[in-house]
């Protein structure tokens, strides 16, 4: 386990009511300022693990520590990006992005200013007064990301954020995400079932085995981050990582 882990998962297990065991004895460290992905076939408990880290689900065994404190509930140092966006349909983009701050009681003007800045950062300037149902899937998820960035949490938890977005939007979004994170000291924990996405984005890839989810392997691809997206996709380390992941995941495909 790395020494500078900002999030530590200790012997976490989760058995749902009804007896389904989603996770068993998971031990993990997530390094500060890095992007880690949780990768595995469906049913491996990756979303459950992410929601346990978020404090949205209670583990039935073990504990999660964030910045040296035990997780009991959601906290201000963690922000969540949802798979289905979870935007308020009756609120425009500006209010949706500012919603985390609104819940914290930040005065209107300050939270709107902060929201406008984040909207510009994710490339949605001009859409402040649009409503979610008027936006494409990719744009909705940009709103979801901007909302998470607006609360200025150190840790951003992303639950398959690009799964309901088409492939070209997905690639563009991945590139923008790397750009966006390059200058910020954010720790990102990212759930995905896409091998290429994990290899392209991650400093650390956690492979989970299914039913119950256990850590099967941790891979740290040594891809140089300074390069452009097309070069990364041709990089030997990137291709090796994709291959290595596939060799492991292949076993879980029936």
């Amino acid at each position: 386990m790395p020494d500078d882990a900002i999030v530590e998962v200790r012997e976490v297990g989760k058995t749902y009511e009804g007896g389904v065991e989603a996770l068993r004895n998971v031990n993990l460290g997530f390094p500060r300022g890095r992007l880690s992905t949780l990768l595995g076939p469906s049913g491996c408990g990756k979303t459950t693990l992410l929601k346990i880290i978020a404090g949205l689900i209670k583990p039935t065994a073990g504990e999660v520590w964030v910045k040296g404190r035990k997780v009991e509930a959601p906290g201000p140092e963690r922000a969540f990006v949802f798979q289905d966006f979870a935007l308020l349909p009756w609120a425009n983009v500006l209010r949706n992005v500012a919603f985390g701050l609104e819940l914290q009681g930040v005065p209107r003007e300050r939270r709107d200013d902060a929201a406008r800045r984040q909207i510009a950062e994710v490339g949605l300037s001009g859409f402040e007064s649009s409503y979610p149902n008027q936006l494409s899937g990719g744009m909705k998820q940009r709103v979801g990301l901007a909302r998470a960035l607006a609360v200025d949490a150190d840790i951003i938890l992303m639950d398959e954020p690009f799964s309901s977005v088409d492939e070209q939007t997905r690639r563009k979004f991945q590139e923008d995400l790397l750009d966006l994170l390059q200058h910020r000291q954010k720790t990102v924990i990212f759930v995905t079932h896409s091998i290429e996405e994990a290899a392209y984005l991650s400093d650390q890839i956690v492979l989970l085995s299914p039913r119950p989810g256990t850590v099967s392997r941790i891979i740290r691809p040594s891809i140089e981050r300074g390069k452009g997206p097309d070069e990364i996709r041709r990089d030997k380390h990137y291709l090796d990582a994709v291959d290595e992941i596939w060799q492991i995941l292949k076993r879980y495909v029936d």
Partner: protein, 255 residues
């Protein structure tokens, strides 16, 4: 190149449908189908006379009072119960079975019972409206609250919302459109309730106009009263439906 304005044609079709309807009515009345079935023209004249002599206006003043009181009562307590049932398992456990039974029961059957207990005054008529309107209002409010998207609630918790914020900022706005639709459907039931009450309990208002003119064989006036209450109910409900679409446009609604 000129083409017909697309907005004009549905209006034309609507007008044609009205002309056809009243035309068939006129023909059926002149044929005649029955001595008690007046043609449209006579009914329309009777409607104008009753409007002019004030009897129609007076009748509506009387009829609409218990309706307004009943719907207001349901609007406050019914919506309150529905929201309570949606938010609290305990309230749900106590009250949901009652409203499910009320919704399925033919409520007109208990109107004689209401008369037996509360007499023939305003109370009974208000109760008739409440019994018919309350179930749909309560159940809509309840379902609106219960169907809140679970990921919106999780989002609220993830961003440190309190339970109060969850209710005020997520659950209630999410349910507002469905609650409003429930009030509209409740009013539709309320119109049925008040007419039944005025026909079964004591003839007052529109119910009186219908019963009286029927008993003295002034059928055009009886039909004018019947037609007028149908038109008033239809227009009111249509107006509310438009208001609903203006207040809760589809692009702002939850899925």
């Amino acid at each position: 190149m000129k083409s017909k304005s697309p907005a004009a044609s549905p209006l034309v079709w609507q007008l044609i449908s009205f002309v056809l309807f009243f035309g068939v009515w006129e023909l059926a009345g002149r044929w005649p189908v029955s001595a008690a079935f007046p043609p449209f023209s006579q009914t329309f004249v009777a409607l104008l006379q009753m409007t002019a002599d004030g009897s129609l206006g007076n009748a509506y003043l009387i009829t609409l009072q218990p309706l307004a009181i009943g719907i207001a009562l349901c609007g406050v307590t019914g919506v309150g119960f529905g929201i309570g049932m949606g938010l609290s398992r305990t309230v749900e456990w106590f009250t949901l079975p009652i409203f499910i039974i009320l919704q399925a029961a033919p409520m007109a059957a208990i109107i004689p019972l209401i008369t037996y207990y509360y007499g023939i005054g305003m109370t009974s008529k208000v109760l008739a409206v409440v019994f018919l309107a309350a179930p749909v209002i309560v159940m809509n409010s309840y379902k609106g609250i219960r169907n809140t998207h679970p990921s919106l609630i999780q989002m609220c918790r993830a961003f440190l919302g309190t339970r109060k914020q969850e209710v005020v900022k997520i659950i209630l706005p999410h349910a507002a459109a469905v609650i409003f639709a429930g009030l509209r459907l409740g009013l539709a039931m309320g119109f049925i309730g008040i007419v039944i009450a005025e026909l079964l309990i004591t003839p007052t208002g529109i119910g009186d106009l219908i019963t009286y003119h029927s008993s003295v064989a002034e059928y055009p006036r009886m039909f004018a009263a019947i037609t007028s209450i149908i038109v008033v109910a239809a227009l009111t409900l249509h107006g509310l439906e438009r208001l609903e679409r203006a207040l809760f446009p589809p692009e702002m609604r939850g899925s």
